[in-house]
Amino acid sequence: MKRIGLCVVALALFTLLAAPAMAGETLDAVKAKGFIQVGVNQGLFGFGAADDKGVWRGLDVDTGRAIAAAVFGDATKVKFTPLTAVQRFTALQSGEIDVLCRNATRTLSRETSLGLNFCQTNYYDGQGFLIPKKLGVKSAKELDGATVCVLPGTTTELNAADYFRSSGMQWKPVVIESTPELNKAFFAGRCDSLTSDISQLAGVRAVAPNPADYMILPEVISKEPLSPAVRHGDDQWMDIVDFTVLAMINAEELGITSENVDEMLKSKDPKIQRFLGVNAGNGKALGLDEKFAYNIVKQVGNYGEVFERNVGVDTPLGLERGLNALWTDGGLMYAPPFK
């Protein structure tokens, strides 16, 4: 008898836990409450940070706005929840947020055991090295015997150790606890090189006493595909987030920008007509308005615009497109056909 009781309890618990995994549920809930709750970084300039007027800005933030534009036709129907690295996945699992756009690296274990679905990557990051130009080094292969500033206990430290071991080079890590201290030590010349994610290194370089004296080496020693994530089990919602990012990429590939999107509506190109919803089909398939891609591009912009606005060459971060260029320009941004 006892065992049967246990089984019933276990079954009840299981159904309780499995309950959120209903297709279409998130979209309905989002539509009912009238806005999308997006989890963003609590303060990472260029990706998710509030500006001096308290308005959220960044690549991930704009991704969230694009999803709102796709769902509601209004990019302002979105609320942001700042999250720490520890909180981010719980917030998603518990339903506190509808989608996580918080520079999270897509990995196998997160995708499976954490019960998350990662969507199209919106930024390909990777670990690199920042050096003062006077070091006279052009490649990370020449860093044999270098002292390298690194944060302790992070995957960054491990990646660096792996890299130096596998290339048969010696290195001396200078481990410093906090990021500002680490930067100061590097600028003071305590180490030859600073290693971290390249998007972070760009920020460090931007605050250098004289940024032109420093450069980021071309080698990328780890893969960090930063992607928006949703809960397991709601495939429709995942498709929406996925194709929101893809629509921004596709718009750039088709040459559609927030400025010329209205003229593009008159285009004779069937690809553009389908994409912008002049020829119906795509929106209905996703459960969205036929104009969803038009709304994204019109209100938020295509991927290139969003990139340049938040992290591009003219921003303090000054990042090149690199891996984040379109596939036609030698990057990894590639959208499947919208048909």
Partner: protein, 365 residues
Amino acid sequence: MAVHPISDADAIKPPKTQTGVVGWMRQNLFNGVFNSILTVVILYILWKTVPPLIRWFFIDAVWTTASEACYAADGACWSVIYNNIRFILFGLYPHDLQWRPLAAIVLLIALLVYSRDRRRWRRSLLWTWLAGLFVMGLLMKGGLFGLENVDSTLWSGLPLTLLLSVFGMVAAYPLGVMLALGRRSRMPAIKSLCVVYIEMIRGVPLISLLFMSSVMFPLFLPEGLTINKILRAQIAIIMFTAAYIAEVVRGGLQAISRGQYEAAESLGLGFPQKMRLVILPQALKIVIPPTVGILVSAFKDTSLVVIIALYDLLKTTQSVLSNPKWMGFSSEAYIFIALIYFICCFSMSDYSRKLERELGAGERR
């Protein structure tokens, strides 16, 4: 024979080397070899450190410029405060509506100053406070009388710090007193419940409680039900502070002699009257200093909500510093918020000293 008349006053006067500035210096700074060396060393250190500090602080400092000028300046960059003051103080609160949290803070300070005087502690003050809290809540939240509704997730900066600490203290104090009474209760169930609660909360750091409330607690809730993040942190802070206050109050209760209890009982007072009229007024008076100590540290502990990404005063400052434009100027920004924290904490301990003097808590024992 010439006579030198010496007046009485002259005769009594001590030698010149023992009076005035010289005398004071001899007595206090140079009365012995060791102390003389110490004085010289300390003077040298002060001479080496104070002028550069003043130069950094005031003379070479830039006050109202853009960030580019800061990189050129040798001194402090107070521009980081000047340019971001509204974000540091009010954080994510909508920019055009920031007069509302400002008005709420002014109202709170006015109420606090008004109630400093013990002669004003009447029943009407309680109603004034309730009305004041209602107006403050209305100002922050809006939604009535044509005020635009502001989501509570956007409350941040100084208002959030004050909200967490003021409500944390106000709610924790009575809860702590009740826990202290419960722990001294003769009823085993109540007593053991209170003991378990107090010891369990005191056995874990505040950070772990905050983590529980923000990371684990939501997972236990049924799907679709989420409790406001600020409220969760607020409850964690109240639970934590109450446990500490309970132990302090218990100390006060134990310091009251048995005679007081017995005297109250012999007057025929029941338990609530005995506690309210005889025991607690004496016990709480004795424990004013440690209680204020706990309240001050509770106020400072609210800054720990940074780790659950609530935008309190510290977090808004960090957020400003994460902007590459202002990344290098952490010292200036932190000095500024340290000043705010100091003003708050100092006025608390200052008030407690005044209260002690008035109640004569220190004299009798």
